[in-house]
């Protein structure tokens, strides 16, 4: 077996792995969001895919991400309000 890493290297590797894990989470969210924004019914790419995106599809895709995240934050707020209201 290999001799062990010294403490500084272990720390560096731990930080590296944390960063990689964070970036894997972001990647996985991007896959999920691409699916949500692509698919019908609220998706942006309706009908057969063309040679390029129409300007409508392009702005829809750009807006889709922000609106999905807005919805998510909005729903969290709604739940908090319900809880405060003694629900």
């Amino acid at each position: 077996m290999d001799p062990k890493f010294d403490e500084a290297t272990q720390k560096e590797l731990a930080t590296f792995l944390e960063r990689e894990q964070a970036s894997a989470k972001v990647q996985s969210s991007v896959h999920q969001l691409t699916g949500i924004c692509w698919k019908n019914p609220s998706g942006c790419v309706t009908g057969m895919p063309g040679k390029s995106f129409s300007s409508g599809e392009q702005s829809c895709l750009a807006n889709c991400v922000d609106r999905f995240l807005d919805s998510s934050l909005f729903l969290v707020k709604q739940i908090e309000l319900k809880r405060e209201g003694g629900f």
């Binding site: 077996m1 991007v30 895709l61």
Partner: protein, 101 residues
Amino acid sequence: MSSFLSSTTGAAPPQDMAARKEAMMNAVRQEMAIQNAQELMNKANERCFAKCVTKPSGSLTSSEETCLSRCLDRYLEAFTMVSKAYTARIGRERDARLASQ
């Protein structure tokens, strides 16, 4: 995690250790890239098949192939656009959080 990082006893010479560290980091990076590419291909296949091959016949028709090829290009483009939009949003949220502190 810690047992994975410190497998056995005894310290390694610094150069050897640096090389092993780099090798480990590169292996992780490569594994991540492969996972990501696989996920992208799986999702693109699923979604483009649904769009382009609505009635599976004896073989893929040329129009289905044209559709699949365009669909893959558009899916990759959409992925890039979503990735940019998401990264930009994360940046904005972080700035807002820092500004409010």
